[in-house]
Point group: C2
Chain length 78, copies 2
DNA sequence: TAATAATTACCGTTAAGGCGGTAAAAATAG
DNA sequence: CTATTTTTACCGCCTTAACGGTAATTATTA
């Protein structure tokens, strides 16, 4: 399932959907991801200002992959 | 240019590459994105704990799009 | 070369993100 | 129904992300 993220709030929806489909409580997911349960609660309730490393930890547990499309690629040589 | 993000540090590389190719200084990009110049400095220097809304603001200016691939989609009906 | 401008590096302060603890609510069992 | 378990909601504290200001560095021009 590929989703183009238009708004940050889209991320919360995907986290909620995947957590529930994976039959994980917030506390279980938080434990697996190595984050506090509170941040999961906050994210699922619309918080837009959490840290990306928190997001990556959660995504890792839920097997969610991120791809970005940019005008320019990474230059290997300076 | 599509890039699968494996590590958070990949993001910094892409920001640096696209900022330079767009001929923007950190201060210019920060101004356009509505964030402080310091956070751009920090991100480009390996910080892994910045907020996603900061990232989205920066990506918006640089025309970088995010797509995520998840096992389950969003359920419209509860 | 020196002088100026532009960019980057870093410091100190402040607002807020993330934490555990716990109460409230919901689900399940008996 | 009540009792127990599970999940969610929220509070207060502590750490820190982001900020502006400024020094240091680099680039540009004469």
């Amino acid at each position: 399932m590929n989703t183009r993220i238009e708004n940050i709030s889209d991320i919360a929806k995907i986290i909620i959907a995947n957590r529930k489909k994976s039959n994980l409580s917030r506390e279980q997911l938080a434990l697996l991801a190595g984050v506090g349960k509170t941040v999961l609660y906050d994210i699922e309730h619309g918080k837009l200002t959490y840290k990306i490393d928190t997001l990556f930890k959660i995504f890792s547990v839920l097997n969610i992959k991120i791809t970005i499309e940019s005008p320019f690629g990474i230059e290997e040589n300076e």
